[in-house]
């Protein structure tokens, strides 16, 4: 008993008590190995919760794809395969740099570590830049989730513009702040601040690089489509003309209900053939309760994924600060390793999202 009392006394003088504990070892762990194992197991368990969190959306996806495959085939056309593929490459590359960063942390290559973390951050920003183009392009077309979905009419004028600009406001402000910070770090000649500000500024630039890249590729796609549409103008089908008469943003009105139902009774094959022939969105698919549902799932999945990317960027920035202080070494690199695990999981989920959303034929 007295021993415990003494401990209570001693623990008030934390420095006496923990003289054998280096600063990076939390007081309740016995040694570096226990701390590392605990952190790592904790991270894997967190990844488990992430997997189950996403599983809900994958469940909704399989449920509705299974039920209405034609909706998914129709809507997938609006997703730009090239942008998806580029983003996959960007994320894979960021995974590479992240894994390399873990290696650098272990080997005490401090400069390389900051560089690798900076590259990861840059890739993440570029991914978001491309994503911003994708989202804004869809919003311009009226491809909103669920009840806000606007029925698509080929050749019709696009809706509102300016979504891309508003998506860029926050990154722009952040980049400017990073730029000011970088100038400050140059002025003060502080190595530490330069090492922190540099990667952040580069990441800001990468975002706009991603936006630019996305715009170029999206423009290519649009002209490609326009050419296709022009070709099909010459073979007008009755149904094609018919749906063009209706204004965008409306379901087929009640009085045309007969036609909707008539379409509804056709088999999937017929619908497919029809839409293949006419390149016209089929009325039974091209409505809020069908295509809208696909875009709900698309935005939920990619949106939650993007939120994870943003979260990852925040913790990577935190790592860059720690790395610039040269805190990591072969006994203490748990934070880099664990953030790495998280980052790879974000990549892991995208690996599934890409073929499931973009590559449906």
């Amino acid at each position: 008993m007295t021993a415990i009392q003494e401990t209570a006394h001693e623990s008030e003088h934390a420095q006496d008590h923990h003289h054998d504990h280096p600063a990076w070892l939390a007081h309740h762990f016995d040694d570096a190995e226990q701390q590392f194992d605990a952190g790592k197991l904790g991270m894997w368990l967190f990844l488990v919760t992430e997997v189950l969190f996403f599983s809900g959306m994958f469940c909704a996806y399989s449920l509705y794809r299974n039920r209405d495959p034609q909706v998914f085939e129709f809507c997938s056309r609006f997703l730009n395969e090239k942008l998806g593929a580029i983003n996959t490459g960007v994320l894979l590359f960021s995974s590479l740099t992240m894994a390399w960063a873990v290696r650098a942390a272990q080997l005490k290559q401090h400069k390389l570590l900051v560089g690798m973390l900076g590259a990861t951050l840059g890739c993440a920003a570029m991914f978001l830049g491309v994503k911003a183009v994708e989202y804004s392009h869809k919003w311009e077309l009226g491809l909103f989730p669920g009840k806000f979905y606007v029925s698509q009419i080929p050749g019709a004028a696009h809706g509102e513009h300016g979504y891309l600009g508003s998506l860029c406001i926050v990154p722009l402000i952040l980049t400017i702040i990073a730029g000011v910070y970088y100038i400050y770090s140059l002025a003060t000649m502080s190595k530490f601040h330069q090492q922190v500000a540099g990667p952040i500024l580069v990441a800001g630039a990468c975002f706009f690089g991603g936006v630019q890249l996305g715009r170029i590729l999206e423009a290519e796609e649009t002209t490609h489509h326009a050419a296709e549409h022009a070709a099909h103008e010459h073979s007008p089908g009755a149904s094609h003309d018919h749906s063009q008469d209706h204004s965008a943003g409306e379901l087929l009105p009640e009085k045309e209900g007969g036609e909707v139902i008539a379409l509804g009774h056709k088999s999937i094959e017929d619908v497919k053939v029809m839409s293949e022939e006419l390149k016209t969105p089929d009325a039974s698919v091209n409505q809020k309760s069908m295509a809208g549902l696909f875009f709900s799932i698309y935005y939920c999945m990619t949106g939650v994924h993007a939120v994870h990317i943003i979260g990852g960027m925040l913790v990577i920035t935190w790592l860059i600060v720690k790395a610039a202080r040269e805190e990591f070494h072969d006994q203490y690199f748990g934070p880099v390793d664990n953030v790495g695990l998280y980052w790879h999981l974000v990549d892991f989920i995208w690996i599934y999202l890409f073929p499931l959303l973009y590559l449906i034929t």
Binding site: W100, G264, H265, I351, P355
Partner: protein, 110 residues
């Protein structure tokens, strides 16, 4: 992890991405989804085993993450099995509705 291994895994992942984009250009019918999922799983396995070091990690961590996939399978399996089962009832009802004029939003039955 040696640098050559990091790079080799990265290029393998890129090649597999190219492959999955390439295969999506052909109409393979039902096989397509399974093929693209298989490629995705191979990629995911590469990421987990090498980038996440699971190959060298404690077995417990592997059990933890693989165990979670069992529960995902359970969740998806039961829910989809059930949805598949009661869809017949839904289609029956929606056909009844669809035969009435003015019904909309019920085109589950095609």
């Amino acid at each position: 992890m040696p640098i050559w291994m990091l790079l080799a895994v990265f290029f393998a992942l890129l090649i597999l991405t190219g492959l999955t984009v390439y295969q999506s250009q052909f109409d393979l019918g039902n096989a397509e989804i399974w093929l693209s999922l298989t490629i995705a799983t191979v990629k995911a396995a590469l990421v987990i085993l090498f980038f996440m070091h699971l190959l060298w990690d404690k077995p417990l961590n592997a059990i933890v993450i693989l165990g979670s996939l069992i529960f995902v399978a359970l969740f998806l399996g039961f829910t989809l099995m059930d949805a598949e089962g009661y869809r017949e009832n839904l289609i029956y009802k929606s056909t009844v509705k669809a035969s009435q004029p003015g019904a909309k939003g019920d085109e589950i039955d095609n």
